[in-house]
């Protein structure tokens, strides 16, 4: 396939071009006079037949092309319709089915580039004609190309071990694929591991999650690397190389059995360091396991707290206590590389930092909590063993839950975080059930679309919870009446009755929204995908390719793509696993033949191109005629950078030869 950059005039018979102008219903025909464009095309060089038709992508539309290929002996086809992203493959395939090499096809986009974006009809006509002329001019210089096949590595890497990553990993492992599950934190489980109950069924979160965590741990097809981060990704769909940083936990993972003797014997007799897993509401020791069902069930040492690291000396009772000799203070960070055919990103989210809305008093008033903190308080495995107690040990008699904190707010995040209404209802129910407190929900709109969700809302209404519609203005401890003394007062305009209200409560819960991780931009660069302004990873198509990304072989699962609840995360994880399986199981990938190649006879070996290649596809090699640059076709993505850089024009690119590009420009310019 390399080096076939000639034109139709030289490799075989003269070009015979067929041009097809698509109406796309009224999408194109509403603005462009398709008939006159076809009429215009009849007079373009080498055009044998030109037609317009209502829907070129329909079966009859494609048959039109195929009949003409046979009847008029067409050897070039131009379709003027939508974006090549939509139907290039459709028409290439139609050509191939009629016996024409699919790369003798060229598409002119007169929908996205013309009819949808041009105001005046005659301007649209002119532009459509110019684009058709460009395509006709160019297609005459196309050559027959072959797609190349490369084998796919059968393993899969899943990045992020929350419920999405867990579900995707298990699905693929059950299908017989070897999965590397890479988790940044010391344990998998993600946010779901912190919840007590899940909405709307009030299933115990741990009861449904931890069996899946154990399955991951015990699955023969899953390699679980916790406390590890991906630091580099090379390669392409089917053949990625992923470098993973294994952070030192100062405990030999293979030896540790999770007996916690070391934690017991630590020279710190009392737990005195903030426990991140409990949202800093509890304490832990420098050597710890995040929570009892942590997976892998392995302890780790925090070197910023352990005396062995901070003071340089310690009795090291932990090491003494360990019968398995698992403690290793000299453990170093190491980089490991794995190869895989597909990657699933399931890196999740972070919750909104409530301090960014100072008028809500988070961190100012002890009794203002975030929703995630309340999750830990209601959790039987949490710092209060599930008892809802304020920091002073008392039980709240009244609780206000403020919705939309960091969501639906032009000052922070304009989007709806989708899960807060439902988890707020769940928390309201749990608070009422456990404490009998009066619970007030402050909401803008109740958003409960989902199976059993609205019914759950109804249940809460019947339970006697208070619902006040209005965005909370302020949480304050400034009492204006005796009953407000010693309480937090929530000031809000109740928009249902149209009056400002002051509601005194013992406890305020801020229902924080979901945000992308701070390093989302770094991560998306590493994996060659894109993300929205807010940092959510972008799917290839919002409707038709919701778990694919701009990079083939990289798929998305869970909240890293946008706020989602658990059922949606799991559903998407299953979809991502299926897409990854489809790629890996196929066994090969077909590479677009738009690769660049270097003519060794013309290359002078100047090496300008070598450092330019973003995919490291160019190497210098010793040949009979001295050192020349050589492109590894399998690594080339067809970006064209080297082609532009090559000072002596020794590099050319399939589908983008100089001749084709200049003809295209000529085509545009000569008819406008």
């Amino acid at each position: 396939m390399s080096g076939q950059n000639g034109n139709g005039k030289t490799n075989g018979s003269a070009p015979r071009v067929g041009v097809y102008v698509c109406h796309c219903g009224i999408n194109i025909a509403g603005k462009v006079d398709c008939e006159s464009v076809a009429e215009f095309a009849r007079n373009l060089p080498d055009v044998v037949v030109a037609r317009d038709y209502k829907f070129m992508c329909s079966d009859p539309g494609q048959e039109l092309i195929q009949d003409d290929i046979r009847e008029h002996k067409l050897n070039r086809v131009v379709v003027a319709s939508c974006s090549p992203l939509m139907h290039e493959n459709t028409f290439r395939k139609a050509c191939a089915d009629a016996g024409l090499n699919p790369f003798y096809f060229q598409m002119a986009n007169i929908r996205e580039h013309v009819s949808w974006v041009t105001k005046e009809k005659d301007e649209a006509d002119k532009k459509a004609k110019a684009l058709v002329a460009a395509a006709v001019h160019r297609v005459r210089f196309h050559s027959a190309l072959e797609k190349k096949r490369v084998d796919v590595h059968p393993d899969v890497v899943v990045v992020g071990g929350g419920i999405s990553g867990i579900h995707a990993a298990l699905t693929m492992a059950n299908a017989g694929k070897h999965v590397y599950l890479i988790e940044r934190e010391p344990t998998i489980g993600g946010h779901m591991a912190k919840f007590d109950k899940t909405f709307p069924t009030l299933d115990c979160s741990a009861c449904i999650l931890t069996p899946k965590m154990s399955d991951v741990k015990n699955h023969p097809n899953i390699t679980l690397w916790s406390y590890s981060e991906v630091v580099n990704v090379d390669g392409f769909a089917g053949n990625f190389k992923v470098q993973v940083k294994r952070k030192p936990r100062y405990v030999i993972e293979e030896n540790c059995i999770g007996c916690l003797q070391c934690v017991e014997e630590c020279v710190f007799k009392n737990a005195r360091f903030d426990d991140e897993f409990n949202e800093n509401l509890g304490k832990r020791k420098p050597i710890y396991m995040p929570f009892p069902q942590a997976t892998p069930p392995v302890v780790l040492i925090d070197p910023t707290q352990c005396l062995r690291f901070t003071k340089g000396k310690c009795a090291s009772k932990c090491a003494e206590a360990c019968e398995k000799n698992a403690i290793d203070f000299d453990q170093k960070e190491k980089i490991e590389e794995v190869e895989c055919g597909a990657i699933i990103l399931s890196t999740g989210f972070k919750t909104f930092d409530a301090e960014r809305i100072p008028q809500y008093g988070y961190k100012k008033y002890a009794n203002v909590y975030t929703s995630l903190e309340l999750e830990r308080l209601v959790n039987a495995a949490g710092p209060t063993s599930g008892e809802i107690k304020l920091r002073n040990g008392s039980t709240p008699q009244s609780v206000g839950i403020v919705h939309c904190v960091g969501s639906r707010d032009q000052k922070t995040n304009a989007y709806c975080s989708r899960v807060c209404c439902m988890y707020s209802l769940k928390l309201a129910h749990l608070v009422k059930e456990r404490t009998g407190a009066e619970v007030y929900n402050f909401y803008i709109d109740m958003r409960t679309p989902g199976k059993g969700y609205e019914e759950f809302y109804d249940r809460l209404l019947e339970e006697g919870n208070h619902f006040i519609r209005g965005r909370v203005a302020e949480v304050t401890d400034w009492a204006m009446s005796p009953e407000e003394q010693g309480k937090l007062v929530i000031r809000v305009e109740d928009t249902l009755i149209g009056v400002p209200r002051r509601i005194p409560v013992d406890m305020v819960v801020l229902s924080v929204g979901l945000e992308a991780h701070d390093d989302a931009d770094d991560v998306r660069r590493m994996f060659g995908i894109s993300c929205s302004k807010q940092g959510w990873f972008t799917e290839r198509h919002p409707k038709l390719a919701p778990v694919s990304t701009a990079t083939d072989g990289v798929f998305l699962a869970g909240a890293c793509q946008g706020p989602k609840d658990i059922p949606d995360c799991v559903a998407q994880a299953g979809a991502a696993a299926a897409e990854a399986l489809a790629l890996v199981d196929k066994g090969f990938v077909e590479l677009e033949p738009n690769t660049a190649s270097i003519n060794a006879d013309l290359c002078c070996g100047c090496r300008t191109c070598v450092s330019m290649c973003p995919y490291s596809a160019i190497k210098v090699d010793e040949t009979q005629d001295g050192e020349k640059s050589i492109i590894n076709e399998a690594l080339c993505k067809g970006c064209g950078t080297c082609v532009a850089a090559c000072p002596s024009g020794a590099i050319s690119q399939n589908l983008f030869t100089d001749e084709q590009i200049f003809e295209e420009i000529e085509g545009v310019l000569s008819y406008v």
Binding site: D601, L602, C603, C604, G605, C606, R607, T608, C609, V610, S611, M612, V620, D625, G626, E627, T641, A644, A645, C646, P647, S648, G649, A650, D658, F662
Partner: protein, 331 residues
């Protein structure tokens, strides 16, 4: 069989190309032996009328050097085209416009003004500027017109072959003559030189680093040049990667960077644009400000990248559009 009739002519150029013919040394005797020189005003006494009196196509080959700037040069070009079977553009100026072509950055008016009025060494109290016609008591004196731009030969007449270089290397001239004598010329329009770039046979090629990455551009006088090491790797603006080979690395062997006189390979349509793309590619920085600073450190970029090829470049079309009558424009 009679000997082929050959002519040489000199248009807007420095004379170096004529020198290149003389540089054939004793081989010139073989040439004189093999051909019949019917026109060579630089060396022998020929007049325009000698050409006029020839039958159309009477000459077999004519080598024309120099750009076309005056009406007389244009007239001569057309005349020679008519009288010769094979017209060869000889040297950078007729090939691509050459050094005289750099004048196209300026208007003809400002060139005349600068040369005849503003140049510090000129004494011209009366402010005389050449005109095509000047009335004197003796009658009307005429001079060829100074045209708006300098052109390459093929921008005026159809050219059959090109022998590139400033001046063309002796070997290329010998090969060209040989090809004519043996009737072994390539398809019409070809440049009679290898179609690969300079690095191919540069003696410094082996010292090239794996990746070319430049942190600072330097001019030859600013550093002590390592006589063995790749000049680009030393930060010098060597245009070897963009330039056709064919001179046996003459400048590099003299410890100077290539300036691009042999022009681009057949695949490249705009020498300067390619050169810029090439240099932009090897700048070792991803920081925009640093890149700007590096690019700013290139002295006279338009003169460096388009030294020999301005009239034949896309850039020229842009300059012509932008020029508003005086002063340096474009670039």
């Amino acid at each position: 069989m009679s000997k082929p009739k050959v002519g040489f002519n000199w248009l807007a150029s420095c004379g170096g190309c004529e020198e290149a013919v003389v540089d054939l040394e004793e081989a010139i005797l073989d040439v004189v032996e093999a051909v019949d020189i019917v026109f060579w005003p630089c060396a022998m006494d020929f007049k325009k009328d000698d050409v006029r009196s020839m039958a159309d196509g009477e000459m077999d080959v004519c080598f024309v050097n120099g750009a076309i700037r005056t009406s007389e040069e244009e007239e001569m070009s057309r005349l020679l085209r008519k009288k010769t079977k094979i017209l060869i553009a000889f040297g950078s100026c007729s090939h691509m416009g050459g050094i005289p072509g750099l004048g196209n950055f300026y208007s003809s008016e400002s060139i005349l003004k600068s040369s005849f009025l503003e140049s510090p060494s000129t004494v011209n109290a009366e402010g005389v500027i050449p005109k095509t016609e000047t009335k004197r008591s003796e009658g009307i004196l005429t001079l060829p017109a100074f045209q708006e731009t300098a052109k390459s030969l093929d921008q005026v007449v159809e050219v059959d072959y090109y022998v590139p270089g400033c001046p063309p290397p002796v070997k290329l001239l010998k090969d060209a003559v040989q090809a004519v004598l043996e009737n072994k010329l390539p398809p019409k329009g070809a440049v009679l030189a290898p179609d690969v770039a300079q690095c191919t046979d540069c003696p410094r090629q082996d010292t090239k680093p794996e990746k070319l990455e430049i942190k600072e551009f330097k001019r030859p006088f600013e550093i002590e040049i390592d006589p063995k090491k790749c000049l680009l790797a030393q930060g010098l603006m060597c245009l070897g990667p963009v330039t056709r080979s064919g001179c046996d690395s003459a400048c590099m062997k003299a410890n100077m960077p290539c300036t691009g006189c042999l022009g681009p390979t057949s695949r490249v349509k705009d020498f300067g644009a390619k050169a810029m793309a090439g240099f932009a590619s090897i700048i070792d920085s991803t920081d925009e400000e640093e890149i700007d600073r590096l690019l700013d450190s290139i002295v006279d970029p338009e003169g460096t990248f388009y030294r020999y090829s301005l009239p034949k470049s896309y850039m020229h079309a842009i300059c012509t559009t932008m020029r508003n009558g005086s002063g340096k424009k474009g670039a």
